[in-house]
Every structure is written in C-alpha cells, then in structure tokens.
Symmetry: C2
Subunit: 337 residues, 2 copies
C-alpha cells in the first residue's frame, strides 16, 4: 500500500546509470548529457521520486530550512511579519520551522536547541522580552546565522530588520500637537524590549521637540482587556491628558473600548493614536489613527537578509529600518476641553 519512496539508487537502476549521475540530474548540474538527463527525469517522474533533503544535508550541510521564533501568534503584527517571511522563503525553496516563545526566554532557549538539532541553516529571531544580551554571541559561537527582527538584543551584533518606532512615535506626537493637544499620555506595556525602549525614546524626544507636556506613562498588560482596564488609570492621571499615544493598535483598541465604557467618546473626549496600523485599526469605532509599519515588508526583508547571510557569511552587517507612515483617521480628534 504505502510503497517505500524510491531512492537515487532505484532511479539509477531503472534508468541504467549510476547513483552519482542521478544525483547530478537532481541538482540540475550541466555536466550530464542532454539525452541522459531527459531519460533520468522521465524515470524520476514515473517513479514519483522525491529527493530526501535530510539525507542531502548530512553530506552538504544545507537543509534549506530556517527557524523563525516569534513571541506570539495572536497579534496580527507578528503574523503579517510571518506571512512576509514565509512567502520569501517559499520562493527560495526553503521551509520555515515555526515556534512561539510566548515571550519566555527559557522556552526560547529550548526552541533554539531544538532548531539546532534539526539542522536549520539559520534563524530569524524576534527575541523574547528578557532575552540574555549574550544570546547573539552564543549563537555565533554555535555557527548559527541569525537575523533579529522587530526587536533586538545585544550591541548590534547581528543583521536586523525592524520598524522605525522612534520616528513613528514622533509623527504621531506632532500630529496630536498639530491638532491642539498639549497634555499627552503614553499607554505602554510592562515587558521591556528594544521595541518598547524605542517608543519611549521617541516619546520623550517628541515631547522635547514639540514642547508638549508628558502627561504620564501608564502600563498595561499587552491585551485589549488590559488596555480597557487601564482606561481609568489614564482618565485619573493628575495632569489630565487630552490625548493618549498607545504602544500598539491592540492597546489603542482596548483603550477606546475602556473609554466608551467610562462614557467618553474616543476622538472627541480623548484623542487616541495607535501604532502599527493593523487591519483592526480601520474596524474600530471611530476608525483609529495609527502609524503604519508594514510588518509584512519587514518580514520579507528579514528573510532576504538571512538568505544573503547564508550565501555570503562574511558580508558586513546589514540593518533594515522600515519607515513609518502616519494614517490619519478619526480617533485623533482636535483638542476639545
């Protein structure tokens, strides 16, 4: 019933050539004569030959497999990123090993060991919050090429693809100031990552540049429930902000919900701006002003960078920073107090 898969040897036998020749055909080598190639290809098609990439890797050390580690799979920011990665990898005839670190550095370590065991050619890593800064160095010592994406640990020791959060937050802030807002709060998250650090830097810079008032930083769980819950904390800030800039769209959406529950109309009683411009941003009420970061594009760039690194390990480090773009919608109304 489930006949064993034919091997090079089987093909060779039927085609009347040697294993080595069939191997050359499989790898599209120009060394084989046209006639031979056609004959062998015919036999491969007839017997439904599928090359065993694991066995091949054993010899030539290339598994055409890359590992991707993300901290979660529910935020569509990461899944759009993943879509980009997967698309490029498929075009390059590579396969993606996916794992979810759940933002747990220990779990992340386990995953990396597992990936090593499976002989991945390289890894695209969005490091979990709290990842040891020595990790990139350790991976280097393992001989495991890595591209960091969306977040980064260490002293820029690896290729990196990310978004320009500093500029993005700045844009959002200037937009709010342009609408007349002066007292602006930031709704953040608890876990510390480079992505959070950048946003905070963007926030304080923007505050300094525009002369607006830092009305306080509120921290919430990274869920819309957490943000909805945090609405009260925002509303009771002593500096009475008229606008809130949010860590991302999920928090912004949750905050808008919380505001409505507290009988404030987002965009009128309180301006709300998100970050990432997820599809979700258009569906909230009112539609959400946000800063587009094109995670899918970051994913394709990360994949491209890893492929490049695999092809030429000695090239200088590369960084890709996706520019931010402000998307004005209705959650960021003019100041009305």
């Amino acid at each position: 019933m489930t006949a064993k898969r034919p091997t090079l040897e089987d093909i060779a036998l039927v085609a009347g050539v040697s294993r080595a020749t069939v191997s050359l055909v499989v790898r599209q080598s120009p060394l084989v004569a046209e006639r031979t190639r056609l004959r062998v290809e015919q036999v491969m098609a007839d017997l439904d030959y599928v090359r065993d990439i694991g066995a091949a890797r054993l010899r030539n050390n290339s598994s055409r497999t890359v590992g991707v580690i993300v901290p979660n799979l529910v935020n569509s920011f990461f899944t759009e990123f993943l879509t980009g990665v997967e698309q490029v990898m498929r075009q390059q005839d590579r396969v993606v090993l996916l794992a979810n670190s759940e933002d747990d550095p220990q779990r992340q370590d386990e995953i990396l060991q597992r990936f090593r065991g499976h002989g991945v050619d390289g890894v695209i890593l969005c490091p979990a919050a709290g990842t040891d800064v020595a990790l990139p160095g350790r991976m280097q010592r393992w001989g495991l090429p890595v591209v960091q994406a969306l977040r980064e640990v260490g002293q820029q020791e690896t290729d990196y693809a990310g978004a320009d959060y500093i500029a993005g937050v700045g844009m959002a802030l200037r937009h709010l100031v342009g609408l007349g807002h002066r007292r602006i709060a930031f709704l953040s998250v608890r876990a510390m990552t480079s992505a959070k650090a950048e946003r905070l830097k963007g926030f304080s810079r923007g505050i300094a540049e525009t002369g607006a008032l830092d009305a306080g930083i509120v921290e919430a769980d990274l869920t819309w429930e957490g943000a909805a819950h945090a609405a009260n904390a925002v509303l009771s800030l002593p500096s009475r902000p008229t606008a809130v800039l949010c860590f991302n769209d999920v928090l912004a959406a949750g905050l808008m919900l919380g505001l409505r529950r507290a009988d404030r109309q987002p965009g009128r009683d309180m301006a709300v701006v998100g970050l990432d411009d997820l599809p979700l941003a258009e569906l909230t009420y009112p539609p959400m002003t946000s800063v587009a970061m094109c995670p899918a594009r970051i994913g394709t760039e990360a994949a491209r960078m890893l492929a490049r690194r695999l092809a030429s390990p000695a090239l200088p480090l590369e960084r890709f920073i996706q520019p931010a773009r402000l998307i004005k919608r209705e959650s960021s109304g003019p100041r009305m107090d």
Copy 2:
C-alpha cells in the same frame, strides 16, 4: 570560532565508550549502566552535544517534524488554531513546519512535495479551496499520515478536527428569530470549502426549523473591505432583511463598517451576527454578537490526533467537532422596522 558540533563519536572518544553506547544514553535506554550513563551525560554537557535529528531520522524514520498548512495567516482564526497546534507539538518535542497555501491548491501541492522531501512524520492540513478530493487518498499512498482540520475534502477518509458550524449557524439564527427577526440574509464568500458548505446547510436548516425567511445570500471577498463593499448589496436585497448572518467575524466587522458608511447603525437598523468570535468581535462598534468556536482548542485536538495516529497507524479514524457557543453582544439588536 564556529567549532564544528561534536558527534556521538566525539563524545564516545572522550567518555571512553563506544558510539553505540552514547547513542543508547541519548535515547535514554535502560540498557546502560548507571555509572556509564552519568559519565557520558557529563561529557555531553561539557562538549555541548546536540543530537542531529536529521541523521537519526535517516536511520529510524522519525523526524519529530510535522507540517502544517493553512490557507492564510492574517485571519486570527487560523493563527489561534496554529497556536494550539504549536503548543502541543512543542510539548511532544516535535517541531512545526509551517506553510501558507494562500488557498491555492497548486501551491498546496508544491508545499506537500517540499514537506515530503523534508521527511515530515505527518501533516495537519486545512485544505485550500478547490483541493482535489483525491488528495487524501494520494497522501495515503505516499504513506504520509494526515489530519484534516477546519475544512475537509474527500469522504471522511482521514482524521478530522473542526468546528460545529451547522449548529453554530443554527444558534445564531434562532437567536435572531428570538429577537423578532423574520427576514434574514446570509453574507457568504465566493470560494467553496466544506466550511462554507456546512454554514450554508446550517442556514437552510435553521430557516426551515424557525420558519424565518431566507432573505438571500450575498457573496463577498473574504476581507473586511469586501464585506464593507457588500453592505450596499445587502441593503438593496428585494426581501429587505432586518438581520444578516455573516460567514465569519471579519466579514461581519466589514459589513458593520459598510452599514455605518451607508448611515445605518448596526444593531439598531440592521442586526449583524458574526461567526468565530475572534478577539476582534469585542472591539467593533457595537460589540459583535458572534458564535465562539475556540480555534486554539481545535488546534490542540488536531495535534493530539496526529500524534495518536503516528503512534498507532491502524487505529480507527477519529473526528473531533468543537461545539459552538453563542456570545450575545450588541450588534444583534431586536427587530426595529
């Protein structure tokens, strides 16, 4: 710098035993003496040994790798499903090869070949719309165990984990009828899948049972833009529906947006019910009535079923149907016309 990974041979040399013994230690065989085991384990730790699973598979035919194919990665229904799968697989010390078919059967075939080449132990497949009904049989002939999930092709030839869409649609329908609605439309999608067929069956059954009027089926692209666009088609149905049941939450959210753009208030001027109860459902305005399907649970079940099948290929086929649960929110207001 990047020292080559130590092999069984290296460990054996240092520990003063044979390759075979080290292999036994790696596989936790009870055959090795306690003393020997400890010594070998010490050496493995010292040299940072990582077992090469690809090489192991070559011999023992188990790669501890499973392929997962989903039709997209942006709908969080699929990513929650994926989260469930990944979680169980990690617990079982397996690794997930992820691919996105983009609902294209041809791409799906390519992916399956690639997975075969990588020697996956089995596949969890959410078949692309238009998948050849012969695919399950073909995979059987390849000797590739498969669990279908969320969608199904063929005559129940494989294990299957899915959601009870028939009951789910029925619940939603009875809920609407209970609110006084009589003329109910269905907002569907173009692509045909078992998931669509089930919903349609649930719809017509529900219509028959409740005595309500089938106010027409409108088809949209499976995006919120598509659904927003379809709002006009819904509004101009000759049967003047007072409620719309939607294929899923993404469409429902888009439809609500389209209705507002056409100056109708969802939940007041037109009742809207979604399907899947994505996180999104709580964030729309008004919050969306939907039918929870727990995709993560379906994912864990699918993973469990595949593991079971791999352990005992001869067991009878298994089906898991996640029951539906109606979540009442505000988008399904009482009939007001």
